[in-house]
Structure formats: C-alpha cells, structure tokens
C-alpha cells in the first residue's frame, strides 16, 4: 500500500499505514487479551484508513472479526503427586493362607478419583453387600429383594454373591449387642463359619457398636479364621486399640479404622494402630452421611482426605471405605410420599446410588451397600470409568432432534 502522508497524521497516533506489512513482521499481534494469527484476519483497508481506525480497534478489540477459526491447542493440565494411596489386600486364597476363591486389592491410587487423563487406575473400587445376623428394620424397596433370606445369613450371602454380583460380603453381627441378644463370641464365630462356607468371596466382619463386646468378638473371629484376611469393621477411638490391632495383626487380617467425620481424629486413630499394624493393613471409614442428610460433609471430608494422601500426608494415604447403606437413613429413600415422587421402589435405590456415586468421585475404594439395583449400576459405572473407550462424538449433537413423546 502506498504511503499517503496527510494532515491527520499529526493529530492521531502515528502508525505505519502499511498495516499488512507491519503485521507480517509478527506471527501474531496482541489486541487486548486476544491473540490473532495474521493470516486469519480479515483486514481490508483503504489507504489512509488504517491509521484512523486501527488505534480504535486495538483499544476496543472488537472490530477485527476473524473469518476463519483461530486454531489453538488444548494441553491437558497434569499434576504430579508426591504421595500414593497404599494397597490393601482383602481375603486370602488357599495359596495365600486362607480359603477364599480369590483375594482383592483396594487402593494404590496416584491421582484423584478417576482423573484418568492423569494416571491409570490400579485397582477399581469394589462392593461388599450387607448381610445381617438378625432381623433389622429394612425399607420396603430393599426388603422386597431379600425377604426370602432375611432369617438365613448364609443364604443371604449366597444371594448377594450369586445374584447381586457382590465382590465381598459384610456380615453384621448385630446379635452380639449386649442391649439386644447379647450373643456370645462363639455364636458369632458360628455365623461367620456358615457364611465362609456358603460363599468364597473375602468377608467383612461387622460388629454391633459396643466397644468392649466388639473387641471380644473380633478377637475370637480373628483367631478362629487366622489367615483369611478378613476386614474387621470397625476399630473406633474408644476401643482398646492396642489390643485390637495386636489380634488383627496376629490373625493376618485388615482393620477398618472408623472415625466420625474429622480428619484429625482419623489421623490420630491410624497413628495409634501403626505401632502394631502395617500401613497395608488399614482401610479408613471417615463416616458416610446420606444424600440430603450431610452427604456434603462426607463428600468434602473424603475428597480432602484423598487429596491430602496424594500430596504426601501418609496418615491419610489409606484406601477409603463407605457405609453407603446409610443412604437409607434419608426419609426420601424409603418414605411413601405423594404421587408425584413415586414410585419409592425406584427413588430409594437411586438415593443409595447417588450417595455412592458422589463418594466414588471423592475417592472411595470400598462400598458397603444394600440394594441390588444400586449395586448393579455402581458396578457398571465403575466399569465404564475404568475401561472407558474413545466415543464416537459425531452423533452427539443429534440430541437436539431426539424425537421423544416419552
């Protein structure tokens, strides 16, 4: 472009009118916050116009409209973490000193939950289903699936494994509660024996919540089933932690360290066990609250624990377990509500699933669950998040024209 010297040059900002030539010197120019690649700019200037218009354009950053897509790259934001979540083995096969059909490993994460753009998941989370050794209040939505077996823990365990696809079974020894049936440790051992015979998956041994009785029963079970690598659920702050950790260690089992939604207490309890148990023998339960009834606290507490563990806080670098069955404590899970919220047969399990999914994304490794539909779906989700495939994205935008009268 020719250079026309005019009067206006003196009043405005002086700029080489040969804008294309000027721009060509650079790969990109910055106009305000935007980087524009020169070849893609649609600039047609009359001679002399440029020096009047461009300063304005630069100031506003508006008038230069690109005519082609300005290509740029997305770079995945990858973090590195100094910590790694320990791996804990549950169950032991014959060759490992037990009698289970297989053993399972939880933990081993090197990134937050399912950040698979960052690192591959070593061990997908697993599910253990609840079995009770005596009648407990169950919601209708759950009861309809287990009503045949509620009086027979062994049959219940079989149903959980063979029909509902449980990776593990949790036997809740409610009957040992001194305030309920006060069943003896020997009786508890018998129940465990029946279940261990009925199914060959790894087992979780659940107590009644009484710190003294639980310890007595756990000790008996630990001794009798030495080598089976059960998960003893759970060890709490007000138990004789030293005694429990010792017999768990002696029997070759793993401990579930339970604390009420407080990371400092969780660290402290874990520390108390480190003298007698290997880090690889401890899973932590940081307390699960139901969707709508404190799930936000549980979620954030677990997310913080996991991030802390990854960032080098070894006292929190344990796999996490969730008593997801607590979801049924929410009235919306079981209550018969007005017609617009029904059927509760779907609402209930979706409540449990939503609670589980929320905590799955916070980093939970082991889910203690109840409803077969929630269990099935959570397994599918874990599978999809573990073995995800590159999808055919082309059809995605078709959602706009879905014809649905449903």
């Amino acid at each position: 472009m020719p250079h026309h010297k005019t009067k206006e040059d003196n009043s405005g900002i002086s700029l080489d009118p040969d804008i294309m030539k000027l721009l060509a010197k650079f790969q990109e120019i910055e106009i305000e916050d935007f980087e524009l690649e020169v070849g893609e700019l649609e600039l047609r200037f009359e001679p002399g116009m440029a020096r009047r218009i461009l300063p304005k354009m630069i100031k506003k950053g508006l008038k230069v409209k690109p005519s082609n897509i300005l290509k740029t790259e997305f770079h995945a934001p990858i973090n590195s973490y100094s910590g790694k979540i320990v791996e804990v083995q549950l169950g032991a096969t014959k060759s490992e000193g037990g009698s289970r059909g297989r053993s399972l490993i939880v933990g081993g994460e090197t990134s937050p939950a399912f950040y698979s753009f960052e690192s591959k998941l070593n061990n997908p989370p697993i599910l253990t289903l609840d079995v009770f050794d005596m009648k407990v209040p169950l919601s209708k939505a759950v009861k309809m699936h287990v009503k045949e077996v509620v009086d027979d823990p062994a049959a219940w365990a079989e149903l959980a494994v063979n029909k509902f696809g449980a990776d593990m079974v949790t036997i809740h020894l409610i009957s040992i509660d001194p305030l309920l049936k006060d069943a003896t440790p020997k009786a508890a051992v018998k129940t465990v024996e029946e279940i261990a015979q009925a199914v060959d998956v790894p087992l979780v041994i659940g107590g009644c919540g009484d710190p003294i009785k639980d310890a007595d029963v756990f000790e008996e079970v630990s001794q009798t089933f030495a080598g089976e690598r059960f998960l003893i659920s759970s060890i709490t702050q007000d138990m004789d932690v030293e005694r429990c950790a010792k017999f768990i260690n002696k029997g070759g089992h793993a401990a579930l360290s339970f604390t009420p939604m407080d990371l400092n207490l969780a660290r402290e309890l874990n520390r108390r066990m480190y003298d007698f148990l290997d880090k690889k023998d401890i899973i932590m339960d940081l307390t699960t609250a139901a969707l709508g009834y404190g799930l936000d606290y549980a979620f954030t507490n677990m997310e913080r624990a996991r991030l802390g563990g990854l960032m080098g806080d070894t006292e929190l670098a344990h796999p996490m377990s969730s008593g997801t069955t607590n979801a049924w404590a929410a009235r919306e899970a079981w209550l018969k509500m007005s017609e617009e919220w029904e059927p509760r047969e779907l609402r209930g399990p979706l409540w449990e699933l939503t609670t589980a999914l929320t905590l799955l994304l916070a980093g939970v490794d082991l889910f203690m669950m109840m409803h077969p539909a929630a269990v099935k779906t959570l397994k599918d989700i874990i599978n999809n998040l573990t073995h995800g495939k590159k999808v055919n994205a082309e059809k995605y935008l078709d959602w706009i024209s879905i014809k649905s009268s449903r």
């Binding site: 916050d33 740029t72 929320t358 995800g388």
Partner: protein
C-alpha cells in the same frame, strides 16, 4: 494464554483489598470500617459496588484494579431477565473445601417445537411449578431448553412465543441452524436466552446472532478440547464475551471422556488461570434419550439421573434433562443443594432447650442431636405440625443420632446431663422424655441415669405427630 495476575481465591487477603479502598471508614456500606468491608469482600459476602466513595471518578483506577483482582477464574454468565434470571459459573475454586461454590448448577428441562399444545403446556407448568421443601429451602428447576425438532423456523418462533407467554423461566434455544435460532430470537428478542450452539460449521452466524441480540452463546466441540479452545478463542476475537462451553456429554463407556473433559477444563481455569477454559460448563444428561430403542423409560430416566449427578459433582454449571418424574429429579436437586451448601457453615447448631409453639407443663419433651441437618429436620417437622413441645438439643459434637450412638457421642450420660442443664424439670411436671427411635439402644441407660421415664419415639421425625396422637399422655 494465561493470566497470572488474576488472583485465585486463596491468595487474596483482606489487606490486598483494604489497600485499594478509599479508607474513609464512612460506614455507607453498612460495615463498621473499611477493614471489615474488605474482609466481607474477600469472603464474597459483599460487592465492591457497595462502597460508594470507591465509585467516584478519582478512585476509578483502584476500582478497576479491584474488579480485576476479584474476577472469578470461571466467568459468571447471566441467562434470562428479571427475577428468574440464572447466573451460571462464577466459580472461584475447583474444590468446594477451598472456599465455597457459587451459583448452583442450573437445571433445564426440555420441550420441542413439535409437541402437542397440551404436552408443551404440561411440561412448562411442571417445570416452573416443580418444588420440594427441604430443611428450610425450596428446591426448584431453573430453565427451559427449546429444541427444534421440526427444523421449521415458523414453528420454532411460535413455540418460543407461547413459552415466554406462559413462563418467566430463562430459555435455551437449541438448533444448529442459525435460521431457526434467529426465528427464536425474534420471538423473544429481549429475553437474553442462551443460544445452543456454535460449532465449527456455523460459528460465524451464531456469533452474529449472539452479538445482535446480546445473548450468551454455547460453544460445542464434542469430545475435542482443542477444537473447543479454537472456537472459544475465535468467538472471543469476534467479540462474543458471554460463552458457555459444551465439551460433550457421553453415556456408558463415554462417561470416562466426559468426566475427564469437565475436570480438565475446570482445573485449567481454576488452577492454571487458562482463560479459554474460564467459562461455565454445560452438561447434557438427556443424550441418553438418543439411544432409547426398546429400553424401558424407567431405565433411561435412571441413567439420565445418575449422569446428571456425576456432572453436578464434576463441575457442570448447567445441565439439560428430559425425564420429568419426581423420583428421578429429586435426588439430583437434593445433591445440587448439598454440593452447593457453604462448607464454611458449621456442622453443629447450638445445644440447649428449644420451644415450639406455646408449650406448657403438660407438653411433650423430645431430644435430638446438635448435628445441623438432624436438628433442622426435626425442628421443621415439629414446626410444620404446629405442635406445642420442648426439644432438647444434645451436644453430640455434630453427630447425627445413629452415628452419635455408634460413635458414643450420644450416650446416656450426655442425655442425662442435657436434661439437667436445660432445667426442663422446672418447666414440665411429667418427667417423661421421648427419645429418637434410632437411640432406642440406650433407652434403659437413660432411664437409669436421668431418672426420667423414657418413651422410644419414631425412627423418623416425620412420624412425630402420629406418634403423639397414639402414644402421648402427660
């Protein structure tokens, strides 16, 4: 491109803000002094525009500096007008414990332009009237997505007209055809609807429409973040400032890519100051209806619901849903409320004696724990049934009833102590206490220690009115 000077929330201290304030201590903002105001600003409990002296011309530099300093890494985009307008994004942090999440994920329900009049009205009304009372909050739905399935601009126009005539909820106009979108915008020219969507094919026309009608614009690049970034960069250069990003929502084995994309975008924006990622994210759980085939409706709704929930957890600022059943929407709406609760709020409420209605010496006495959610649930059940009653709030360090019993935070001792401390003995003459059903295990011990007669109440406080009718006698 990264902008390092945009302070992430954590780096900002009240001092940083205070330095730039006029320091007049004029109290016009309602605070005692400028430092108190600065603290509120940092906690996002006040807006800098509330500082009147700051708005004077001579402080314009400080004002602009503050604006820039306080700019959230995820831009806040407003859709709609009036009191139903929805704010999207505006996020300061990636994880809620780092501060708190603002602007709960907006939930939009869809309609189409070839639905029958009856079905259209039915869906509009269900969406705008949907509500659920939950511990003092009313959960609601936020928007309507209008899809053009007819591909007929006239039809789209008339449906949009009908919708804005019947609801004030903000709209998302959905079509890849700019002529359709234009027809919709002409029907609602001043409604600031969200345009769905700009793609590599149509971006220029969509950008023009967005600018002409001053409407925010969705950018779609299914499962390709480089394309998404390129389009975003282009649209910004074009002058469109209010963007919403749609990296694609994919069900089943596509869930991996979906969550990865959302997570990477949010991390890039909040942790790396990446400006092209700094926009609200749109998730579309209703893609599951693409594969309906012979699958039962319930199953599709089930799947849609859990995809919605996973997106709420993984950073979606807005989602579009088709299933309108209460059972599938309720968990989504409650989850959203939970995730967007301010984590800075304490878990526990104050322990002590609460009175409901006008209780007298014959009124029933209940107890519950001081876990906030337990307390609010019980309190609202008693309140709603218009009972006259006393409620002792036992300090369980914020444990619920069942976990309090299990974790020995709720024991006969703590209950007996609370009975004594509250002085309830002087207020009633019956010495009977109704305990939560979930604390039945410790009923005997409570009787022994407190000397009060224990009645085991219902396991859920919603049954309190019925319980009193059947079982209460002073």
């Amino acid at each position: 491109m990264s902008q390092k000077n945009k302070a992430s929330k954590k780096e900002l201290s009240p001092i940083d803000v205070y330095k730039l304030l006029p320091k007049t201590n004029c109290k016009e903002c309602g605070e005692e002094n400028c430092m108190a105001f600065a603290t509120k600003i940092v906690n996002r409990e006040a807006q800098i525009d509330q500082c009147l002296p700051l708005l004077e011309e001579k402080h314009s530099k400080a004002y602009n500096q503050l604006k820039e300093m306080l700019k959230p890494p995820v831009k806040e985009v407003v859709v709609g007008i009036g009191e139903k307008a929805v704010n999207l994004g505006g996020k300061l942090v990636m994880y809620r414990h780092e501060f708190t999440y603002f602007n709960p994920t907006a939930i939009a329900l869809d309609v189409t332009d070839d639905m029958s009049e009856e079905e259209l009205m039915n869906r509009i009304n269900k969406t705008q009237n949907w509500n659920y009372e939950y511990i003092g909050y009313t959960l609601k739905l936020d928007m309507i997505a209008v899809r053009s399935t007819s591909n007929d601009p006239e039809k789209f126009k008339s449906v949009v007209k009908k919708i804005i005539h019947n609801t004030k909820l903000p709209l998302i106009l959905c079509s890849l055809n700019p002529n359709i979108i234009e027809a919709g915008l002409m029907a609602a020219p001043k409604h600031k609807s969200l345009i769905y969507s700009a793609t590599t094919e149509n971006w220029k026309s969509m950008a023009e429409l967005s600018l002409m009608y001053n409407c925010p614009l969705v950018v779609s690049a299914p499962n390709n973040l480089s394309t998404l970034f390129s389009l975003t960069k282009t649209l910004l250069a074009y002058g469109v400032e209010d963007l919403v990003l749609d990296p694609g929502t994919f069900a089943n084995e596509g869930l991996t890519d979906t969550l990865n994309n959302f997570t990477m975008l949010r991390r890039a924006a909040t942790k790396n100051g990446e400006e092209l990622a700094g926009f609200p994210l749109l998730g579309i759980p209703m893609v599951v209806w693409n594969e309906q085939g012979s699958t039962a409706d319930e199953l599709i709704k089930w799947r849609e619901a859990y995809i919605a929930s996973s997106l709420i957890i993984r950073f979606a600022d807005i989602i579009i849903i088709h299933g309108i059943d209460g059972w599938s929407l309720l968990p989504i709406a409650v989850l959203r409320q939970n995730i967007y609760t301010d984590p800075r709020k304490p878990v526990a409420v104050e322990a002590g004696l609460k009175e409901f209605g006008n209780p007298d010496e014959n009124s029933p006495v209940f107890f519950t724990t001081n876990f906030a959610l337990t307390y609010y649930t019980v309190a609202s059940d008693i309140e709603n049934s218009k009972l006259n009653a006393y409620l002792i709030v036992v300090d369980t360090e914020g444990s619920a009833v069942d976990s309090g019993v299990a974790g020995r935070k709720l024991t006969a001792e703590t209950v007996a102590e609370a009975i004594k401390e509250t002085g309830i003995e002087t207020k009633v003459k019956h010495k009977k206490i109704i305990i939560p059903g979930k604390a039945s295990r410790i009923s005997g011990e409570i009787e022994e220690l407190s000397g009060w007669k224990v009645q085991v109440g219902p396991r859920d406080s919603s049954e309190i009115p019925k319980y009193l009718q059947d079982k209460w006698q002073p």
